[in-house]
Amino acid sequence: MLKEFIECPGALVAVLGGEIDQYCAAWLRSKLDVETELSGEKNLVLDLSDVSFMDSAGIGLIIGRGKRLASAGGRLALAGAGGKLKKILEMSGVTRLYPLYPNYRSAVEDMMK
């Protein structure tokens, strides 16, 4: 599920929520790609603090966005994931590729540097 987009200087923030699985992955992917394009921002922050469930479809979505941004000279960052979700992100190696921040503000701040 997608809650909202927040435009910040230096990065677009997408606030995700609810359950992220195969059912919504393709839809979410195109929403994120279109909005990133429209915003003109190179960097994207995924705020995961309201995500209650994520399986491998979500991991595929994150890695896919990371690759896409990188090919356009941008970066992906993650924010707000805790507990079980953080465990899944670490286990799958995602947090080694894309930094995880406590909240989206600290991610944006870091990206502006």
């Binding site: 699985d21 195969q22 059912y23 992917r29 399986d55 491998s56 479809a57 991991i59 286990m91």
Partner: protein, 143 residues
């Protein structure tokens, strides 16, 4: 409920091989465990494993063209057994398919982590499959 009382239970559910039913399958498994009052971590582990097995049946087994997925849940004391079954295309090389990061659908942005998650979050994972014969995934976890 008395802690001494053994809970033995069984249920079988069949549903359309559509992605909208992934959440349904996770929810059914979570409710089935409820009488044992498992901790949140355990419930989350089982939900993830169920989601992976059911998603694989839908998108790989039936190639997103539809079919019927069967999920069986069994409780013997504190041991939960989940069996997810499809009559789809089956798996050519199960050992290869179970390797982390292996996927036959990289273009669909799959990470190849489904079996790895099932293995990590459950106590045991057994995959019985052959081309044209469908796939049976059996997972166990002590709650």
């Amino acid at each position: 409920m008395s802690a001494m009382q053994e809970i033995n239970n069984y249920m079988k559910t069949e549903f359309d091989a559509r992605s909208i039913n992934e959440a349904l399958a996770r929810g059914v498994a979570a409710f089935f465990m409820l009488p044992l009052d498992p901790d949140m971590e355990t419930v989350a582990d089982v939900k993830t494993a169920v989601s992976e097995a059911v998603t694989n049946a839908i998108i790989h087994g039936y190639r997103s063209e539809g079919g019927v997925v069967t999920m069986e849940l069994t409780l013997r004391g504190r041991e939960l057994t989940v069996v997810v079954r499809d009559s789809g295309v089956g798996i050519e090389d199960v050992a290869k398919a179970r390797e982390p990061m292996f996927t036959t659908q990289p273009e669909a942005e799959r990470s190849g982590l489904g079996f790895t998650f099932m293995e990590t979050f459950m106590d045991s994972l057994d995959v019985d499959s052959a081309p044209g014969r469908g796939t049976v995934v059996t997972m166990k976890k002590l709650l």
